[in-house]
């Protein structure tokens, strides 16, 4: 007798449900996406017990008539595409027609919905484990409310895997946050056990939405990203390097308005920071990538959490470049006081949610999505007015929008870091041979660290020779500036490498370059001649990322003119 049988529908549905519906947050995501696809402008999410007792999503979208409401719960019932051709560049969140069916299969689902034309009369469909139990006429206004109770009541294995109430709640909130970032034109409200956890009214200002979701402070730490290369554009926000922290970073990626996860792209964004952040810290990133619909396949993941790019390399490069450029201009320098930098509001929405506004599925094309990229030219070295040195540590000069204050050590570090990286990659810097070789006594562990990095020492210009015992003799040294103290730099560099001071940096070259730059740079407290000040500034502004040093601290701080005006009562 054959052992193979065709599974009953109920089992098939449960298997499918397992892919789409992993936890209450997946239910929230699917239902809110449906509301957005239905053109809702107000969405309310209610949770009980982290969503495991109840998830209810109510909207004021287009609703369904009686026939559609019944169909909606069936597998592969969708109003959003008609054939596989429509999948290309699909611009609604849903298109498979399986979410409701999958949710219904593992819960008790109640769908209440009404369309405008039926004048206050609607439909209530009740289903248990995917089976429709009742279809009733009810009175209700336009829109839809879906209540999902007793999730996984019939899949005890899944139920067991649910995590703590708190972490389920957090995941659900996170799902809403993602969509709330994409759609400023919709208000979102999430209530859990009667407490409002999220309240984001409609707005046209991304700053307001960010403040509503994350608090004002976070919003002020962000720098705008606005970059286009060929058909790819990247807009959004990245955190100012100095504000990046070791924990609690937020990384949100959208492609053509659709949130997705992609650790490699996050890493590409981090690469754009070019060592400007402390290696232990991770920056927050909110990036909206737009590209022609046919360049990205969104139908590769059961919960649509991942996408596939036709040319991933191009996208990674665009993201990295976009971030690097966002950090370049003077506005990216840390600011204090109000009237500060950061926000150019209003641009984000167009970037994040281009093809997804309203229920209409307009194909995504370039150009229609992006405003003119604002040009934020880096400050020209000629434009620094008359820089002066204060406290033998900072350089102050005037910019069009305020006062810039440069930390001479950090700035020089940035300059030398980029130069050292270039030297390490290209095979070496010019080394100055010494008339009087320097003899340096090392500890055994230091000698080992030196030997281990010998090639890199050579590349930046240290020609050293073991001299027996723990002694090395330097015959040639780098000569990055006239005040360079080769012996001290070498000793400190060896000590840092021995103690793994920059150990958090995984990349060996970067770690070495950062250590070298830190040790070779002029120190705070060093008086500089006017020509040296100018030279330092002009080299700083020739760097890739002038405003940031290599430890996640600012190299430039700005005192905005607006802040001065406020303090002096001129505004």
């Amino acid at each position: 007798m054959g052992r193979i049988v065709v599974l009953p529908d109920s089992v098939v549905d449960q298997i499918a449900a397992g892919e789409v519906v992993e936890r209450p947050a997946s239910v929230v995501k699917e239902l809110v996406e449906n509301s957005l696809d239905a053109g809702a402008s107000e969405i309310v999410i209610e949770l009980e017990a982290g969503g495991s007792s109840l998830v209810r999503v109510s909207d004021d979208g287009c609703g369904m008539d009686r026939d559609d409401a019944v169909l909606a719960i069936n597998r592969h019932a969708t109003s959003k595409i008609r054939s596989s051709r429509d999948l290309v560049g699909v611009a609604t969140y849903g298109f498979r027609g399986e979410a409701l069916a999958a949710i219904a299969a593992v819960s008790t689902l109640e769908l209440e919905t009404a369309v405008e034309e039926d004048g206050g009369v609607g439909t209530r469909v009740r289903a248990v484990a995917g089976k429709i139990e009742s279809v009733d006429r009810i009175a209700r206004r336009r829109g839809t409310a879906v209540s999902v109770r007793r999730l996984f009541f019939n899949v005890p294995a899944r139920r067991k895997f649910l995590r703590s109430l708190r972490s389920e709640t957090r995941a659900a909130v996170e799902a809403v946050v993602l969509l709330a970032l994409a759609r400023l034109d919709v208000s979102f409200r999430l209530v859990s056990e009667g407490r409002v956890l999220l309240d984001a009214p409609r707005t046209s200002q991304i700053a307001e939405r960010l403040a509503a979701l994350f608090g004002r402070r976070f919003a002020e730490e962000l720098l705008p990203v606005d970059f286009a290369s060929g058909a790819i554009s990247v807009r959004g926000f990245v955190q100012r390097p100095a504000d990046a922290r070791p924990a609690g970073r937020r990384a949100y990626l959208f492609v053509n308005g659709r949130p997705f996860k992609d650790p490699l792209l996050v890493r590409a964004a981090e690469a754009g920071y070019r060592a400007a952040i402390n290696p232990g810290c991770r920056p927050s990133i909110l990036l909206a990538i737009s590209l022609p619909g046919e360049s990205v396949d969104v139908n590769v993941h059961p919960a649509k959490l991942e996408v596939r790019f036709r040319d991933r390399f191009l996208v990674e490069r665009a993201v990295e470049e976009a971030v690097a450029r966002a950090l370049r201009p003077m506005e990216a320098a840390a600011a204090f006081g109000s009237g500060s930098v950061g926000f150019r509001s209003g641009e984000f929405m167009a970037a994040v949610a281009p093809g997804l506004s309203g229920g209409e599925a307009s194909p995504v094309t370039e150009g229609s999505l992006f405003g003119e990229a604002e040009s934020r030219a880096p400050l020209a070295p000629g434009g620094v007015g008359n820089p002066i040195q204060v406290f033998a540590t900072y350089i102050v000069f005037e910019t069009p929008d305020g006062l810039a204050i440069v930390d001479q050590h950090s700035a020089h570090e940035r300059v030398l870091y980029e130069a050292a990286m270039a030297q390490l990659k290209s095979g070496g810097a010019a080394a100055q041979h010494l008339l009087l070789p320097l003899t340096i006594e090392l500890e055994p562990s230091e000698l080992a660290a030196f030997e281990e990095h010998r090639d890199l020492f050579r590349s930046v210009g240290f020609e050293a020779e073991a001299f027996g015992g723990n002694t090395v003799v330097l015959h040639a040294v780098p000569n990055p500036h006239p005040r360079f103290d080769a012996r001290r730099c070498f000793e400190e560099l060896v000590a840092d490498l021995t103690r793994g001071r920059f150990g958090a940096w995984k990349n060996r070259l970067e770690r070495f370059a950062a250590t070298y730059a830190c040790r070779a740079a002029i120190k705070a407290g060093q008086l500089l001649e006017p020509v040296e000040i100018r030279e330092l500034l002009s080299r700083l502004f020739a760097c890739e990322l002038p405003p940031h040093d290599v430890h996640g601290r600012p190299a430039i701080v700005q005192l905005p003119r607006a802040e001065l005006e406020r303090r002096f009562g001129r505004s």
Binding site: A430, H433, L435, L436, R483, L527, R539
Partner: protein, 369 residues
């Protein structure tokens, strides 16, 4: 304190000492000049704690005493006064009234007790040197001293005094200058390490024909001629053994026109990196080729005719070191000698009609391909 002095005399004294007042200082009294009325005249002094300069100018003294006055203001006032007698009188221990014709000023100073005293130097058995000889040494050597502060000895200029000659040497560890002159300095030998800024005052203050007395007491050195004196702290030695690094086996010798070499280095230097100013020199036969290649910026090539003996050689240099040395070379032609791309090169004048001998040395830069 009360005295009357001709404006020109006062001006002359101020011109001698005022340049030694430090431009920036955290100790306010160093921004002042010490003005003292003594039996011999008015003594003016300035110091930055490392170097002190004093001079005495003739004046009619009514009563002795002293005060310190802000140097800059005093110089400005005296510059604007008419050529006439200037009456200076102290009011208490820190105010001074200055009168000249119908102009009258009152200046607030600082009591003279606060002005740092330099330890006295005894001129009982001095060396005697001609100011012009000393100037020549200073001019050709002091530039090579180090400005980087980690090896204080190299911040100084070594001055070797011998019974029948004197020599100065300075180096920053990358390049070196050495000059020697026959001189009957008298008495014993000494090796002094002198801060270049003291030498600069000596070079500036004394006429080439003057005979200077130089004396040392403990760790201080004094120079004097007439009424003007310069004192300086000495840097503690020993100075590194420079003789041992002066190459004796350089077997590749080029004779080059100084102007042509300078011009070519400047031209190709335009695209050299500002960090290392690296240029590559290639000697072979009768030509010297220059090339510079700076990633991200560009390249430059040039060549000049030279007379060269030895195997072909390619060697890298910091162009600014070469240019600096060429600037001090006293003749139209210079001789360069080499051994190998990582060994010291020398530069010397050719056909210098002078009893002095002059040698500069420069260490190459590592070439990378």
């Amino acid at each position: 304190m009360k005295f009357t002095i001709a404006r020109e005399q006062l001006q002359e004294g101020l011109t001698a000492v005022a340049p030694s007042v430090p431009a920036k200082t955290t100790l306010p009294v160093l921004g002042n000049l010490l003005v003292e009325a003594t039996k011999d005249g008015v003594r003016l002094s300035a110091t930055d704690l490392d170097v002190a300069v004093t001079t005495v100018v003739p004046a009619e003294i009514d009563s002795e005493g002293g005060v310190t006055l802000p140097a800059r203001k005093l110089v400005e006032i005296v510059r604007e006064l008419p050529n006439a007698g200037v009456r200076v009188s102290a009011i208490g221990d820190q105010r001074v009234q200055i009168e000249c014709g119908r102009s009258k000023f009152k200046l607030l100073g600082i009591p003279k007790e606060e002005f740092p005293r330099f330890p006295p130097v005894k001129f009982d058995r001095p060396w005697r040197v001609t100011s012009g000889d000393l100037q020549k040494l200073i001019e050709h050597v002091a530039f090579a001293a180090s400005t980087e502060e980690s090896r204080p000895i190299l911040n100084g200029v070594l001055w070797e005094l011998r019974p029948e000659r004197m020599r100065m040497v300075a180096t920053n560890g990358h390049r070196l200058a050495r000059m020697e002159l026959p001189a009957a300095g008298g008495k014993d030998s000494a090796d002094l390490i002198v801060p270049p800024k003291a030498l600069e005052q000596v070079r500036r203050l004394f006429d080439p024909s003057e005979e200077l007395e130089v004396a040392r007491t403990d760790n201080h050195l004094g120079f004097r001629s007439g009424q003007t004196r310069v004192f300086t702290r000495l840097i503690e030695g020993p100075y590194p053994n420079y003789e041992q690094v002066i190459p004796r086996e350089n077997d590749k010798i080029a004779t080059v026109d100084r102007q042509m070499l300078t011009a070519a280095l400047r031209r190709v230097g335009v695209v050299a990196s500002d960090q290392t100013h690296r240029v590559r020199l290639a000697f072979s036969g009768g030509t010297l080729r220059f090339s510079v290649n700076t990633p991200d910026l560009g390249e430059a090539h040039d060549e000049i005719a030279v007379s060269y003996q030895g195997d072909p050689l390619e060697i890298g240099f910091n162009a600014s070191y070469l240019l600096e040395i060429l600037k001090y070379m006293p003749t139209d032609e210079v001789r360069l000698t080499f051994k190998a791309p990582e060994r010291a090169a020398t530069v010397e004048p050719v056909g210098w009609d002078d009893p002095a001998s002059y040698l500069c040395l420069v260490m190459p830069l590592r070439l990378i391909d």
